[in-house]
Amino acid sequence: MVETGRLRQAAVTAPVLRPVTLLRVAIILSVLAIWEFLAQSGWLYRDVVPSLMAIGRALIKLLTQPYYYYNLGITAAEIGAALAIGGLSGLALGIILGANRFLSKAFENYLYYLGPTPKIIFFPVMIMWFGVGPESKIALGTLSCFFPVALSVAAGMRQIDKVLIRVGTSFRASTAQMVFKIYLPAMRHPIINGIRLGLGVALIGTLLAETKLSNKGIGFLIIQAYGIFDMPRMYAMLIVLFVLAVGANALVGRFGGLHSIKRN
């Protein structure tokens, strides 16, 4: 019948009522409902599952606290420094290994097998070398992000269309010109991906180091909240942290994607 057909069509095109969205909303609402139920029931030890209101209040308190932003700034600076140092050195080593087959065969395996290891266990060594201040956290973050960047870039170098390198050589480009005008632009995708990975692990490394031994930064605040058993505050901080982490990851990914719309 024409009428029912049109009705069905209307339901499919209205975005709010799409089944996927409905399911997602349903899942989120049920999780929140179960949470609140657990919080109110008193079954679990007090405040292990704080009420949503308590978390909300802690969140607002947190986001309006200059002390929080001070620590956020410190952590962000540490991560930034780690990403800069680890990222640039990883980039440099990656270019060298990717460009030279012999060096790659000699050394790249070490990077490959040392990459997926828990870097936090190096923290005692970092403290011995750099002291208890932010330097040791930056060092650990640098150690963490060096590997994925170097490996991504080395692989990226080998994937560059060889003819583009021959074009540069045929025009007698200097090494610096080859690097900045050909290698780097040709590798923008692997580089962005390497930075995404590097950012992720630098973030983890720096923050974990802060939780272990620090008197500043977000990691320190989290352990502080743990110490005084201020659970709503801890949840609030973790929520903000996860939003920022996933957001930063998505942002870097977007940045890489936007640039590739026209130029593939």
């Binding site: 060096l103 040392l114 828990p118 005692p124 996860f242 990851n249």
Partner: protein, 258 residues
Amino acid sequence: MTAAAVRTTSRNFVPAAVGAGTLVVLLLLIELLIRIDVISRFIVPPPSEIVASLWRVIVEEHIFRRFFLTATECLTTGVMITVLGIAGGVLMHRFKLLQQACETWVAGLAAAPVVLAYPLFMVIFGRNAWTIIMIGFVAALPPVILKTIEGMAGTRKVLVNVGRSFNLTATQQFWKILFPAALPTIFVGVRLGLIFALINVVGVEFLINYGGLGQLINDLAERYDLAGTYAAICFVILVSVLFFMALEKIERWLRPVD
């Protein structure tokens, strides 16, 4: 061996030797610099001392008991992520709506720094093995789910059609065609998961000062046993690398030649 094969192996041997040789030279250089006091031995113990402590650490610190503890934690995590990860992936593949709704969330979880919530896990589970296992579980689950979905979706259409041409029931179709075809990819997911699991397990052991190998490092560091700390770190890295290599070998063995 043909002449060509000999040439290839020698072509690979020389750089490998150079790589290993460079490392040895570096260690000797560090040893020298420490002995002539350019590098303080209170910050970097001489490599010779580190090697000597390794034996001491192995004997005195019950390294096998610790190794067993860490291994058990990893194994538990591994079993959990395999069972629940594959089940989750299969469910999401079977119920497309579920996949459409949740797949991006799972991917987001994969990118999220789960281990940072360890203080929270400590509150919930206590300062014990369950915290370690649960963090490993949450961090390592996403790759298993995602790869399971990928494996099942990637089954070549023609194989599915072969099954239908034999009038297989949905269950038979699943067990005889979809699942076996997806296994290589599923194993990739399990391998990734196991790697994440090990990294997180050892890391959390270190952070909460409980457990096996990770805790050992923390212990030795707090005792200011420099050489011992370095030796323990080297040992754990070695275990981690060997684990990774073993997983790679298994994956290569499992992958059908296609």
